[in-house]
Amino acid sequence: MAKGKYDLRVYPGFRAITLLCLVILYSPLIVVMAYSFNASPSITNWEGLSLRWYADVFTGPESAKFKAAARNSFVIALIAATVATAIATLSATAILRGGKFRLRTVSFGLISLPLMVPEIVTAVATLIFFNAIGFDRGLLTILLAHITFCIPFAYLPISARMQGIEATYEQAAMDLYATKRQAFTRVLLPLMAPGIVSGFILAFIVSLDDFIITNFVKGAGVETLPTAIFGAVKQGIKPNIMAISTMLLGVSVVMVTLSWLISRKDRKT
């Protein structure tokens, strides 16, 4: 079938369109990555290869600001992804394994709806909410907001995985004298692990790179990496921003690769 008449490659212009898409998608990233290694302080003139802007990120005049922002970002992403993954795992278990209960479809809708709501709306609403209950803005408000919007991202891969696990596995476990809890921990949870890891990684990346909501709910003086970068860019783009962006890209690539490797290993066994 690979070379049959349904082979996409026979359509005229297939190769050209594919190339165009790839160029549009990746050329900005490649430009940023290339210029992060530029020796020049200019962002348009190439003066030779150098790591000076990477050094600048860690030791330059703005390094303290960036380090604090990076620490905030990673701590928030780690906690938010962990909590969101735990909540998503329990929700998926309840919605997919709780039998038929009223509001089951509604529950599923409610948990995935935030993905469809424009982020700016969520941001404004979250800000208004914190104001209304008199919650001081700071790291904690960022964390709470991140946990909330990470849940649907963690939920999707977890529930997708769980849907692929037949209920007979748990029935077999219970038939073999396992209690409901043991069937969950000994059978369902290990089978769900690849979905849980994917959910965690997705939530982590989404939290790490969130700007709009964070910008609304962060307190004065508290920055995450995206808001710190935005703040720096407002005073003009310097190549150190490109170095930071390249490193962030690296983190994302590593995590996505990790997630892929885990799911591949799972498929082999």
């Binding site: 007979t168 029935q171 073999l176």
Partner: protein, 363 residues
């Protein structure tokens, strides 16, 4: 009810309803200890529902289920000393074969080493010792099937439930497993309740068979009973091949019923309780109990014309047109004796009955 009895399972007036749909209509049956019992029926007849009720995965709408005289309704599956071999095996993919088989014992609170020791013994019993370190996905379908069996047998259940466990295997392996299952049952002395839609499988393995249809037990008996003395149309038609003829009973005399077909042919067979003179009922004629001849061998031989002969390996099946009657099938074994009774298409022949070929059926 706490008195100990010798009945492994008693299903008493069990009803199962899903909303408006009744999956099981007041079923009562008793399964003895150490019996190989089969629930046989087409899909949707309620056999799997009944099995799942015994396992504890479905509750009983009305009535009760008793295990050695003790009511088990209300007990969750993990508190019933009953294990199941699932149709799709449901082996835990993340555990080795040995851990799969030892799982039940571990859940019963046995130590890991004890569970493994017993698991090893059971794997030996199903000849899979050399695969104990593998994952289920590394085994063939037949091997997985045996692991599922070993896993369910390892905790020494009082009753073993088997939900169409052989349906995914190819014919040869299935036949081998039928014999092996039968031997395992005798060896372990555990009561087996086997669910299948394959009548040949049911007849081969079972001590007793309950034929089910539309949520009811149509007939319960040993293989010979069910095959040779089907009680009604459904059982006669479902088990094996048969000719169903509409007959009118003329009179009953000395345990024999004299009947006639629409075309006026006369036939006599054993009388059956509940069918009296004047009744219009169906008669079942097993094709392998009929034989053809060029001249009538008895007064009741039916005149017919050969339409077609079909070669099916062990047998030759002949399709006949009865004079003023329906289509008819006769089987002759593919042996020198059998083939001497096969005639060319178009030939006028006579259909003769062996003792017990005909059976009157309650509709």
């Amino acid at each position: 009810m706490t008195s100990k009895t010798n009945d492994a399972i008693e299903v008493r007036n069990a009803v199962k309803r899903y909303g408006d749909f009744t999956a099981l209509k007041r079923v009562s049956l008793t399964i003895s200890d150490n019996e190989f019992f089969t629930l046989l029926g087409p899909s949707g007849c309620g056999k799997t529902t009944l099995l799942r009720m015994i396992a504890g995965f479905e509750d009983v709408t009305e009535g009760g289920i008793f295990l050695f005289g003790e009511e088990i309704e209300g007990l969750p599956p993990h508190k019933r000393p009953i294990n199941t071999v699932f149709q799709n095996y449901a082996l835990f993919p993340h555990m080795t074969v040995l851990d799969n088989v030892g799982f039940g014992l571990e859940m019963l609170g046995k130590s890991k080493s004890e569970a493994r020791k017993r698991a090893g013994e059971v794997l030996e019993m199903v000849q899979l010792s050399q695969f104990s370190a593998r994952k289920p996905s590394q085994l063939s379908g037949g091997q997985q099937q045996r692991v599922a069996l070993a896993r369910a047998l390892a905790p020494r259940p009082k009753v073993l439930l088997l939900d169409e466990p052989l349906s995914a295997l190819d014919l040869k392996l299935r036949k081998a497993m039928q014999i092996e299952l039968k031997h395992l049952q005798k060896e372990t002395g555990i009561t087996f309740i086997f669910v299948t839609h394959d009548q040949e499988e049911a007849l081969t393995m079972s001590d007793r068979v309950a034929v089910m249809s539309a949520g009811e037990v149509q007939q319960l008996g040993d293989a010979r009973d069910i095959y040779e003395r089907p009680r009604n149309m459904f059982v006669a038609d479902f088990i094996g091949e048969t000719n169903l003829l509409e007959v009118t009973v003329d009179r009953i005399e000395a345990g024999r019923a004299a009947c006639h077909l629409g075309g006026g042919h006369r036939l006599t067979c054993d009388a059956v309780d509940g069918i009296g003179a004047g009744a219009k009922v169906h008669m079942s004629l097993r094709p392998e109990r009929l034989f053809l001849s060029s001249a009538p061998t008895e007064s009741e031989s039916l005149k017919a014309r050969v339409r077609e002969n079909i070669f099916i390996g062990t047998d030759i099946s002949t399709i006949l047109d009865l004079d003023d009657g329906p289509e008819f099938r006769v089987r002759a074994s593919n042996s020198s004796r059998g083939t001497s009774r096969v005639f060319e298409p178009g030939t006028e022949v006579f259909v003769n009955m062996e003792q017990g070929a005909a059976r009157l059926l309650v509709d």
